[in-house]
Symmetry: C2
Subunit: 588 residues, 2 copies
């Protein structure tokens, strides 16, 4: 026993107790003849004091402590003369009787405090020191709490946690696999799972009824910002269910997580939005509904007034930005440049300023009367003092651009408080996406997703228009403009599955080669089933009010997929290469 108490638990009620604490020296300072030491551990900080009349060895020991030294300190809990009510232990301090240095520390390369002075790279290299900082400790503590909540909820709902293998088989569909050469089976490879999709469906075939797992997944993608080659999923599947059952179970899970981890009560039931509505109103299939500023179609109002751009556009839409009529020409030019960046891709931006004096000013004044502009503004719900922003183009593309602009304006106006939570389900996704480029349909979710029963007649139709309007029993859990999870009801019927492959232009032989083994399993009595998966890293980050997941992963990789702390990936030695039947060759 190195300690009787942690550095976070002593209170005034403990006054007079002899205690032993252990932890890290956060800082130490001299004041008169006294030495004050802030001792830190995971649980908090407690102030230690060595009086000026203490034994000389003790005074000496106290004054030789450096930052991040690990010490064991014994003494008596006393009431502080000047209390710090901001910290839980702030009413007491420990009058020391002895100090035992358990380990020294060289000077850390950056400060270990709420805010650090270290750059990102340096902190990544010394991740074990960065992890000592309170924001990271809070992040990992939240992650721990959420994981326990997930499991306790699902366990309570009769879900079984079943581990699926990590050394599986490479499938030629989808994103790139990480592979693992086999030493015992020369020339062959395992693959690391991109998700346990196949295995969880097999568990349904095997009758496990309700499965879950908090599981690592792997995807060898070119890393965009805030993607990790390995990530964690809350993975779930249920049998004998319809979409309604799945949504109920998992909004219950989220409700418990919000309540128990954050003390936040989300609506019951959660709002649901159809995919088509989400696109029309928010220009996104993951709408941020913390604020309004919805997209309004104004095509009919602006066509035929001689403004060529709008006259030729398939779709014209607008958003009303509250209180921004005062935007200067410079601000509007900047905004125009912003939407013209390739990341947004607009050709230009039309504005209508509803000045507070009742006048209207627009970049297309010469084509439209003040009356028409007012009509547009009024349909968008704009009032005097507001700014209306207009984009046009092909319908979904223009809506998407408006959606991006809406988020940007939301950011600029401070409408996206990360500690306000607005979750919802987006439902009724289209089953299929037509690719003009390839002249074929692709599955929007995956080829095992079932069409909605009421759309089945269209699914079996040969007309492209019919197929395009088939919706799937697929659903996404969306929070604050981010998709946290999604899933679908799966096809369990062999004939429907064949039809799906046919629609996707996958031949029987190809289907057999790519999915043969699961198709075969489905012949032995597959129950109706469906499920979903949440991205756990992102769940943690959003619950923590952060946009980036990196602080919610103990040992993340950088944007090049490297762990700079352990210096990985790295070369392996020749013996290892030979044992794995490999030689490495380098292209120029």
């Amino acid at each position: 026993m190195y300690r009787t108490n942690t550095c976070g638990e002593l209170r005034l009620a403990d006054k007079g107790r002899k205690v032993t604490l252990a932890g890290w020296v956060q800082k130490s300072r001299k004041l008169g003849g006294m030495t004050f030491i802030d001792l830190r551990d995971r649980y908090g900080i407690t102030q230690l004091v060595v009086e000026s009349d203490a034994a000389p060895e003790l005074v000496q020991a106290a004054s030789s402590l450096g930052r991040e030294y690990v010490i064991q300190a014994r003494g008596e809990v006393v009431e502080r003369s000047s209390k710090n009510m901001k910290m839980p232990t702030g009413e007491i301090e420990i009058r020391l009787e002895s100090i035992n240095v358990l380990n020294k520390s060289v000077t850390p390369p950056f400060t270990i405090e709420e805010e650090s002075d270290g750059g990102e790279d340096l902190r990544a290299r010394y991740r074990y020191l960065d992890l000592r900082r309170p924001p990271l400790q809070r992040a990992l503590a939240l992650r721990h709490r959420l994981a326990q909540e997930v499991r306790s909820y699902l366990d309570g709902q009769g879900f079984m946690e079943i581990e699926t293998p990590y050394l599986i088989k490479s499938t030629p569909e989808g994103a790139r696999d990480f592979v693992v050469p086999s030493r015992m089976n020369p020339g062959t490879f395992y693959a690391l799972p991109q998700s346990p999709q196949t295995f969880k469906q097999l568990l349904m075939v095997a009758g496990y009824d309700r499965y879950f797992q908090i599981v690592r997944c792997f995807r060898d993608e070119d890393l965009r910002a805030d993607r990790q080659p390995e990530f964690t999923q809350i993975d779930c599947e249920m049998s004998f269910v319809e979409q309604e059952d799945v949504l109920n179970v998992f909004e219950g899970m989220m409700r418990q997580m919000f309540h128990n981890a954050l003390g936040v009560d989300i609506p019951d039931p959660l709002p649901r939005m159809k995919w088509y509505d989400a696109m029309d109103r928010y220009g996104s299939d993951k709408p941020d509904v913390r604020f309004g500023m919805e997209i309004t179609e104004i095509t009919d109002l602006v066509k035929g007034h001689g403004f060529g751009v709008f006259d030729e556009a398939r779709y014209v839409g607008a958003i009303a930005v509250e209180g921004c009529a005062g935007y200067t020409r410079k601000q509007l030019d900047e905004l125009t440049e912003w939407v013209k960046r390739p990341q947004v891709g607009a050709k230009g931006l039309v504005y209508i300023r509803l000045n507070s004096d009742g006048s209207v000013k627009s970049s297309v004044d010469k084509f439209y009367s003040a009356e028409t502009l007012r009509e547009v503004a009024s349909r968008c719900g704009a009032h005097d003092g507001d700014l209306v922003l207009v984009l046009c183009g092909e319908k979904r593309k223009a809506q998407t651009m408006l959606g991006v602009l809406r988020i940007e304006m939301g950011n600029r106006l401070g409408l996206r408080d990360p500690h306000v939570f607005a979750p919802l389900w987006v439902v009724d996704f289209p089953l299929l996406e037509w690719s003009e480029e390839d002249g074929r349909f692709y599955a929007m979710h995956h080829p095992f997703t079932a069409p909605k029963p009421e759309h089945e007649q269209w699914f079996y139709s040969d007309r492209k228009e019919d197929l395009e309007r088939v919706c799937a029993n697929a659903y996404d859990f969306v929070l604050n403009g981010t998709e946290l999870g999604g899933g679908s009801i799966r096809i369990h019927d062999a004939q429907m599955q064949s039809r799906m492959f046919e629609v996707l232009g996958i031949s029987k032989e190809d289907a057999e080669y790519k999915f043969g083994f699961i198709i075969n399993a489905f012949k032995y009595g597959a129950p109706p089933h469906g499920g979903l998966a949440f991205g756990f890293d992102r769940v943690c980050a959003l619950f923590g009010g952060q946009e980036t997941i990196r602080d919610y992963i103990a040992f993340p990789k950088n944007n090049q997929g490297r762990d700079v702390m352990i210096d990985s990936p790295s070369r392996i030695d020749d013996t290892q290469m030979k044992e794995l039947w490999l030689e490495s060759t380098f292209r120029q």
Copy 2:
């Protein structure tokens, strides 16, 4: 909603209720004009009945059902005329009003019952069908329960579940790593972790104080029976602790698991046995203490009687096998052959029969008087009717052989009931093992294990005899002759770590190369810490009363490391090979 109830929950109290069930047809049979169907799901089996006077379509539907068809059935709960009190639902049956076939099934390749008629290979290929069998369902349900118990206990003890990376760095020490070629960093590899050892120690450096994880680990070994290339560990580490603290926390965990999952109360505190005692008394560092039959040294009694084998032996030991004096010559010959197999490695076997009539018969009668033989037997605790078996050789080797023989005799006598549980800690392992072959010491646990504080003076001695007697603060959790887990208090002092490398003959440069990154981390204030890891697959199997782990893993690999269900590992295509900068070459 496909069902109102599961197939395991309806009772006589539900009589009269209209219910809908869904599940698999276990069997169906005709009796008179009636059809009885056993409907199965994860929760149980419920009998359905279609009366002879039911609607013809229903009778027809009922009689066309095959084994493993998935159906939905609606009807009324009625009291059975002939009750089956062996099954929880055995007092009722469902008088059907409708049957809806949700999915047909082709005939399964083996029977899906408590005992299957399928061979091991066939069942592995159709694992999803084998998983429908009750023993596997029970195995995975137990595993689920144990995982929840582990987490709820550790969470309650202030442990944080922290995920460590799976794509790490290959280390040249220890068993072989599985590696993962990096596409983005040509010619380099990640490695899959053999354990999160380094990371959990870094988490202690980072101040996380109490860490745990139920985590997959990977080891590219030549597979012995019942080893898997991927396996699951309960991995834990604690700061500011001594051995006593670690043992207390984790026997508490095991106590809760035994109590809550099995209703078994294990001793409090658990017995502890020093490594030297375990070797002397049981010839094993993982003694099965469910039965006695302890090893007794008899070297002093048998030397100097002219029997060359014993006269030359460094050690002679014996076990008393109760009630086996009646062993025939044939049985004893067979036993002698058994110990001479290479797996045991004895040169021969000496026996002493204490006949029930009081006479003594031994294979070495001509060298020893009946009196000496009685003295030997008496020291072993043998009585009339017992059989004493004697082996000799180098001390630890002979003890180990006697240990193996003891287990065999325990099996033969039925002393190893898998549902009797005798857990204990084995403690005070030697820190170092001398290799005659290499002429150097190896770390018995790993090079970060600390010597016991009271043995430190020997640790800093240069005499081989001193170093050999240094014990470590290392401990194993042993259950019924199997090591379920083990760990140690780690070295946290830089000077002691240097000394360790010196003792192991690892140069400064080598240490830097192999362990540099963790050694560096330890310079920034490493707390005293220690931990342990349990083999979760084996924990589950032993709790389930089984010796093999395979049934406790949903999708295991076979002895060649293959998953025959998904046919993995397998070839990958050339594009993938090229993208990974790899070419495969085959040696002859």
